[in-house]
């Protein structure tokens, strides 16, 4: 891996002798987690805490005719049984729309269903008891009278006049539609030598977190203050929304989020049962704990990716792509999720299709419809796997049609590395990408030509292996353009406060959050590097709205790029302040001094002048010895938000090498490669882990994961035996390489890396399966690629 910094003079603060930037230092929280000292909400116990279990609808769509909870209420250990009507006195409903997604509509959603349930798993009553087990016992004897209503399940017929409208007040089942027409699409197709089209089908799936969604809400009536302990990605967003719907000021709500057992976008939304838990605490004036069990997680954690997307591509004989066209349809469940909405994924598909390529001709339609299934919303790499699979699937089909190598057709169409800045037909602005450098690097890493000849040899022996390539672009470091402009109170800026303590150690409070991805580590690395302090002396505090600056948290691959830059800028100010004081004490000038190894040193020869510990002692305990007029400020705060570009786009390319057993339809993944460009690498190991984890989730989508609903809207595989998450035994080795094009919007130069792996993995696998099956003339554009689908395509069954 070679990293060359294109603007070293700007990166001066980071190029210090003992810099941690670009080093795979171990994360500071590792030992704490390995010793079982993580602070997970599911482990929490508070005095007088009640446990809530939600009674959930067994029907996809039904009227609630009555609830009889008398017997349950009188069971020993039961504290309360609360219905939707009762809870509505404490908490108001919400509507998941954003004003910049024109036309997006949804219906008011309540913390607990009132009168009607709209998906199997929607909560109809809350049973609070002294233990989860007692609450489950009581839930079994609550009688709910349901009158079943017709369920809308198939997205393809959701808009038919004969299909019932789920929310009559909305007029129809169309939540959102977007149309885009750029360039001269019809003329481009007419002038093409070949036009290929296909229907791409994506299975609905979900992010399976090791720790389920967990909340402890503690209303303190004496202080009129609610403390929410929650495994969330966005504490300030939770604070804002809890306050809004409980009729409180934000200052009356504190959100604490320490360790989180995995989130992947699942924990960045506001769920009805979590809102109900906050409200129950206020209603019952005691701490209430909700930890979703696995079955209810499958039924209520957001699902994603349920898309059917028709696509078409035009190509000339010389391989130049003339146009892309898509028509995307997705079903999002009965409500648009709050507050980020469920239109973002389809919107991203429209934005991203064709994104790596030069053609200006692009037409797209996306429709988002309501259904009586669990809600769908943003999950790791929102929209990207769809857009990438459609684009890269079409490019491979076009290549096959004109008899061109899949790598060659990409080389002829990818945006040139020296063409930046530029924009996509859908209006995305690219500051600096590196598609060609990435694909060149990939070719070397995988030894493409050798692999092709190995493939040919094996094929003549009846062994069918395939190579699949997928180039991609990825949205990271979002500005306010994502949510803020649409009216959501989701901060796109982050803040970091840093102070030197009385023994010369550093305390750093940041608004980004730790979900296991290493936010704590990268913050300490940046702060330590800029300040000249060793990482062990930097303590990072995150996940507490009372004790960190205001900010966004973890989503859209933003923590390192935005929170990291805020940390860098805050550390620079603190460093200057320290050097000012040091100059005063040492009767020198700040320019002659530096900080290295926890000490003030001469800038010129590095000779140690004074330990930071000594400086802190003087500042805090003997300020009387400082020259008159010197008032040290050993705490500094800075905030940052990108302003020039709405998003810092990254790019990359993935490749899959696999074998299909054409007798059984089973796919064996042999190897996977990723080359990606996230700008400055702060901690290469953390980046590689993010890429690999992301790839595995993409491979899950490609081969295994699917929420299987029947035609009545029943989720039929809501357990870990039937819903197949990818497991290590089936995963290939994943080689990761980097190209480094830092963003010049920040001094740090880092872009996001958390979702790139997921963006392109399924596309690479699907292309590889089709490559393996080419001798049979079978083409499959549906994932997950199950043995059943492959055998069917091969005509074996």
């Amino acid at each position: 891996m070679t990293i060359t910094s294109s603007n070293p003079e700007i990166l001066s603060e980071l190029d210090r002798p003992n810099s941690y930037i670009g080093k795979s230092v171990p994360r500071p929280n590792l030992e704490r987690l390995m010793q079982g000292r993580g602070l997970y909400v599911s482990d929490m116990e508070l005095p007088r805490m009640g446990h809530v279990v939600f009674l959930r609808s067994p029907h996809a769509h039904a009227r609630i005719a009555g609830i009889d909870a008398a017997a349950a209420r009188s069971m020993p250990g039961v504290i309360a049984v609360v219905t939707g009507k009762e809870l509505a006195a404490v908490i108001t409903p919400w509507v998941g729309v954003l004003s910049h997604l024109k036309g997006l509509k949804s219906a008011p959603q309540h913390a607990l269903a009132i009168d009607r349930v709209c998906w199997q798993g929607e909560a109809v009553a809350a049973i609070v008891a002294t233990s989860r087990a007692v609450a489950e016992d009581a839930a079994e004897i609550v009688r709910v009278d349901y009158e079943e209503l017709e369920a809308v399940t198939d997205m393809r017929t959701a808009l038919d006049p004969a299909t019932p409208v789920i929310h009559p007040a909305l007029g129809d089942n169309l939540a959102f539609e977007r149309n885009l027409d750029a360039g001269e699409v019809d003329a481009a197709f007419a002038g093409s030598d070949a036009v290929v089209e296909a229907d791409f089908i994506f299975g609905r799936h979900t992010g399976v977190t090791l720790e389920p969604r967990s909340v402890v809400a503690d209303w303190n009536a004496a202080e009129a203050r609610l403390t929410i302990y929650q495994g969330t990605q966005a504490p300030h967003m939770v604070q804002n929304i809890a306050a809004l719907h409980l009729g409180l000021e934000e200052s009356q709500v504190r959100v604490v989020c320490k360790d989180v057992g995995g989130s992947f976008g699942i924990k960045v939304h506001i769920y009805a049962d979590e809102m109900a838990t906050y409200a129950l605490s206020k209603l019952l004036r005691r701490p209430i704990k909700f930890v979703a069990d696995r079955v209810e997680s499958f039924n209520t954690d957001i699902h994603a990716r349920d898309h059917r997307c028709w696509g078409r591509i035009g190509v000339k004989r010389d391989g130049s792509i003339t146009a892309f066209e898509i028509d995307d349809l997705t079903g999002i469940g009965p409500y648009s999720m709050y507050p980020r909405t469920s239109a973002i994924e389809a919107n991203q598909v429209v934005n991203l299709v064709g994104g790596p390529y030069v053609t200006r001709n692009y037409r797209a339609r996306a429709r988002v419809v309501f259904q009586n299934k669990n809600v769908m919303c943003q999950y790791r790499a929102v929209g990207h796997p769809i857009a990438c699979s459609v684009t890269e699937g079409l490019v491979d089909l076009a290549a096959a049609k004109i008899g061109m190598d899949p790598v060659e057709i990409r080389r002829r169409n990818l945006i040139a590395d020296n063409a930046y800045p530029c924009a996509s037909p859908s209006g995305l602005r690219f500051e600096l990408l590196s598609h060609h450098a990435a694909i060149n690097k990939l070719m070397t890493m995988m030894d493409y030509d050798a692999l092709r000849s190995e493939q040919a040899t094996l094929r003549s022996n009846g062994i069918y292996r395939g190579i699949g390539i997928a180039s991609f672009i990825e949205v990271t470091n979002p500005s306010a353009a994502f949510y803020g402009v649409g009216g959501a109170k989701i901060s796109s800026q982050d803040g970091v406060a840093i102070r030197l303590d009385a023994q010369g150690s550093v305390i750093c409070q940041t608004s980004i959050t730790e979900q296991g991805q290493g936010s704590e580590s990268l913050t300490a690395q940046i702060v330590g590097s800029v300040l000249g302090v060793s990482m062990e002396r930097v303590r990072v505090i995150l996940g507490d709205t009372d004790n960190t600056p205001y900010g966004g948290g973890t989503w859209a691959s933003r923590g390192a790029g935005i929170g990291g830059e805020a940390a860098l800028q805050a550390a620079k100010i603190l460093r200057r302040n320290i050097l000012d004081v040091a100059a005063a004490i040492l009767q020198s000038s700040p320019a002659e001094l530096d900080i290295a190894d926890n000490a003030i040193v001469n800038a010129a020869d590095g000779a140690s002048r004074m330990e930071l510990r000594e400086l802190a002692r003087i500042v805090y305990f003997r300020p009387d010895t400082l020259p008159p007029g010197v008032q040290p400020e050993l705490m500094a705060t800075r905030h940052f938000v990108p302003r020039e570009y709405p998003f810092a786009f990254t790019n990359g390319v993935q490749a899959s090498w696999l074998e299909v057993d054409t007798d059984t339809g089973f796919v064996r993944l042999l190897k996977h490669w990723v080359v990606e460009d996230c700008g400055t690498l702060i901690n290469p190991q953390l980046v590689d882990e993010q890429i690999r984890g992301g790839v595995v989730q993409g491979l899950g989508a490609a081969l295994f994961e699917k929420c299987v609903y029947d035609e009545r809207g029943q989720l039929t595989n809501a357990n870990m035996a039937d819903y197949l998450v990818p497991m290590s035994g089936e995963m290939p080795d994943i080689d990761v390489g980097h190209v480094v094009s830092p963003t010049s919007e920040t001094e740090l130069g880092a872009k996001g890396a958390g979702e790139a792996g997921t963006a392109g993995a399924a596309a690479a696998v699907a292309n590889a399966v089709n490559d393996a099956l080419r001798p049979f003339g079978a083409v499959i554009t549906e994932i997950p690629l199950t043995p059943q689908i492959i055998l069917t395509a091969l005509g074996r069954i």
Partner: protein, 293 residues
């Protein structure tokens, strides 16, 4: 996902366990390794009144070889089967099959008796017992019964055991000269229950099957001893002979549709297994034509 309240008794002897089972009948459940029972209770699919934990009954544990018989106690854990030199020497089919059962954490607790009494039709061990011609030993208030494995499995989670009986042990004939075995299954992920699987035990003399027990699992409501195997015994196997056996197998099986595979796919995979087994057992690569033979 919390089990409903239940009473718990740790049986002190087989007799004590049988007394409790007699008193409670089907309101009691025997607890062995707990790997199937506990999840079912936590999901509240079953809510027994009494759990009879047989974990301390040392007489139900262990592997012993006497003469031509291997005796395996009901409490013998999967991991012990996997690592037992006696099993590797005398019932190598089991050694191979057990590595497909779940994952190490589950194999450390799950037991042979539990697996057989549970009788999941996609389970490996019941099929092996039928292939190996095992005898299953069952004890009730009135004494012991010996049941041939082929008669023991009655349907999905159904066996010949009554709620008042304990599965004590199994007895297997020691694998003889000329004896060969084949085990393979198709599962979406390693350790999952199979979509289709085959446990086969055979005698091969001069490239001819003199005996062939093909037991398919996950393709019916219990392990299926294929009658089609008879078409391959005492005959020189040609692709045409194998194809006829595959066709017969397809007609004989009546698999279920489920989320993992349609009935047609299961039937197809069973034929692939048959072809691969014949090819492997006879060491004839030419026969492996993936069920298209």
């Amino acid at each position: 996902m919390k089990a409903a309240a239940f009473a718990y008794a740790r049986a002190t002897s087989v007799g004590n366990a049988l007394e409790l089972l007699k008193a409670y009948g089907d309101r009691a459940k025997v607890l062995s390794g707990g790997q199937s029972l506990m999840p079912a209770m936590n999901l509240r699919l079953i809510s027994p009144e009494l759990i009879v934990d047989i974990g301390e009954l040392a007489e139900l544990r262990g592997i012993a070889v006497t003469g031509s018989v291997v005796r395996i106690g009901a409490l013998t854990r999967h991991v012990d089967l996997l690592t037992s030199p006696e099993i590797a020497a005398h019932a190598p089919l089991l050694t191979e099959a057990i590595s497909h059962v779940a994952h190490p954490a589950i194999r450390n607790r799950g037991t042979l008796g539990g697996s057989l009494a549970h009788a999941d039709p996609a389970s490996e061990l019941p099929a092996c017992m039928v292939a190996l011609n095992a005898t299953i030993i069952v004890r009730g208030q009135d004494g012991e019964r010996r049941v041939a494995a082929g008669e023991f499995f009655k349907g999905i989670y159904e066996t010949d055991l009554s709620a008042r009986e304990l599965l004590i042990s199994v007895e297997l004939p020691v694998a003889g000269k000329h004896s060969v075995h084949f085990f393979h299954e198709f599962a979406r992920r390693h350790g999952d229950y199979a979509i289709a699987g085959l446990a086969a035990q055979a005698m091969v003399e001069r490239d001819i099957f003199t005996d062939l027990r093909l037991v398919f699992f996950a393709v019916g409501d219990r392990p299926v001893l294929a009658r089609a195997a008879t078409k391959l015994v005492n005959i020189t196997i040609t692709p045409a002979v194998l194809a006829a056996a595959c066709t017969a197998l397809g007609e004989e099986l009546d698999p279920q549709d489920d989320q993992q595979a349609s009935a047609a796919m299961r039937r197809h995979l069973a034929k692939v297994l048959l072809a691969r087994a014949a090819s492997a057992l006879l060491d004839r690569p030419d026969l492996n034509a993936g069920g298209r033979a």
